[in-house]
Symmetry: C2
Subunit: 229 residues, 2 copies
C-alpha cells in the first residue's frame, strides 16, 4: 500500500528526482505550484520538502527556491546507546569493573578538547566493560568534578556514562570515531595483542556553563557500528 498525505508527496518528489525528471542542480517548482498539482495545501508540500531537505536530497533557500542537490551527501543517523543496553541487546549479560579511579592532572589533548587550562586536575576513571564476562570495551574517562555538584555516585554500581546521561543535564557535545592500534595497557585489559586494530570512540560533553567529561572507548576487536543510510 502506498503512503498517503505528506509522505506520498515526499516519495513522489523523491521519485522524480531519482528518475532525473528533475536533474541535480535544477530548480524544482515552488510549493504553491506543487500544492496545486497534488491538490493539497501548501503546508503539506512544505512538510514533505522539509523532510527531503533534512535528508540532503534537496537544498532550499528563501527566494532562490528549491533545487536538487548536486552531490547529495548521504546522511546516516547513528544511535549512540548506553553500553549496557548495547550488550544486553546482543543477548549477553553486562558487567563492568572499575580498574582505576583517582584524581590526576589531565594531559594536553584532554584539557584542549574540554577547553580547560593546562594542568587541570580531573577525576580519571578507567573501566572495563564486559559482555558475558568477555571484554567488550575499555573506557578511559576524564571527569570534571566541578560538574558533579554535591553528587557522589558509586561508579562501581552504575557505569559513569549511564549515570551521567540520566543525572547531569547537558546541552552539547561532539563525537569522533577512529581506528587505533592497542597500546600496552589497553591490550592487556582487553586481552588482545599489542597493536591490534581497535575501533575507538572519542566523546566530549559540556553543559552551557562548563565541560563535563571526555571519554575514549576502545572497543574489542570485531566491533561494528551500524546504521541505515
Amino acid at each position: 500500500m502506498q503512503p498517503q498525505g505528506w509522505e506520498s508527496i515526499r516519495d513522489e518528489v523523491s521519485a522524480r528526482i531519482r528518475a532525473r525528471l528533475w536533474a541535480p542542480g535544477d530548480t524544482i517548482p515552488g510549493e504553491e505550484t506543487l500544492a496545486q498539482e497534488f491538490g493539497v495545501a501548501r503546508a503539506t508540500v512544505n512538510r514533505a520538502m522539509r523532510e527531503l531537505a533534512a535528508t540532503g536530497v534537496i537544498e532550499r533557500r528563501r527566494k532562490a527556491g528549491t533545487r536538487v542537490a548536486l552531490l547529495p551527501a548521504r546522511r546516516a543517523l547513528l544511535e549512540i546507546a548506553v553500553i549496557r543496553l548495547e550488550v544486553e541487546g546482543k543477548g549477553a549479560a553486562y558487567s563492568h569493573q572499575v580498574l582505576e579511579d583517582r584524581m590526576e592532572a589531565a594531559p594536553p589533548p584532554v584539557v584542549a578538547r574540554l577547553g580547560l587550562p593546562a594542568g587541570t586536575v580531573l577525576r580519571r576513571l578507567r573501566t572495563l566493560h564486559l559482555a558475558d564476562g568477555q571484554p567488550w570495551a575499555y573506557e578511559d574517562r576524564w571527569l570534571n568534578p566541578a560538574a558533579l555538584v554535591g553528587e557522589a555516585p558509586d561508579f562501581t554500581q552504575v557505569s559513569a556514562n549511564e549515570w551521567l546521561v540520566s543525572h547531569v543535564p547537558y546541552a552539547t557535545g561532539d563525537i569522533a570515531f577512529s581506528a587505533e592500534g592497542a597500546e600496552p595497557d589497553v591490550a592487556v585489559a582487553l586481552g588482545v595483542e599489542e597493536g591490534a586494530a581497535l575501533f575507538v570512540t572519542d566523546r566530549a560533553t559540556w553543559t552551557e556553563a562548563q565541560p563535563i567529561t571526555s571519554v575514549r572507548l576502545y572497543h574489542a576487536p570485531g566491533y561494528r557500528m551500524r546504521s541505515a543510510l
Copy 2:
C-alpha cells in the same frame, strides 16, 4: 537573543527536562495544555515536540501521551560526503587511481550482503584515493553490472562512488564502521605496515529492484570521522 516561535518552545521544554522539572519516565503535559500555557496554537507545540522526539529526548505515543526518555540514546547525524569533497575540504588536491577493474565471482560475504545468489559475477573495482598525492583511502568495490543499464562510465575520470551517487537512482542502503588490521595488499597500496589499524567503512546500496554495489573503504591511518552530538 533568544529564539522565537516553535524553537523557543522546544528549548523551554528541553530546559525543563534538563532541570528535572520533568524527570525521566514522567509523562509531560499534553499539547493542548502546553499550547495554552505558552499562548500558541497546538500545531506550534506539536512542531517543537516532534523535533524533540526526533532527537530522542522524549518519546511520544498516541493516547499514551509524551514522556521523557529514560535513557536518552544520543543520536549523531553523520554526513557521508563523497571522498573528493572530503579531501578538497581539507584543502588538498584530490586524485585517484584505478588499480583493478575486471569481472570476478563475488565472495560469499559480498553476495550475502547484497542478497545475490552465490557465485554471481560482479565488476570488481579497486581504487586508491589520494590527497595531494598521498594515499587517503583504498577502495574495494563490487558493482552489479545489471544496475548500470546501457551506461558505460569511465571510472578513471570520475570515481565510481561519485558517478553512482549522481547517476543511479537508489532508495536504500546501509553502512557500517569498524577497525581492521591492514591486509598485505591494502598495506602496500596505502604505504603502511601490514596489520596497521585502519578505519573501515562498509557500505551497500540497493534500488527497489536490485542491488547496486557493495564497497569497503580502508582509510589511511589517522583518519577520524567526526560529528556533533
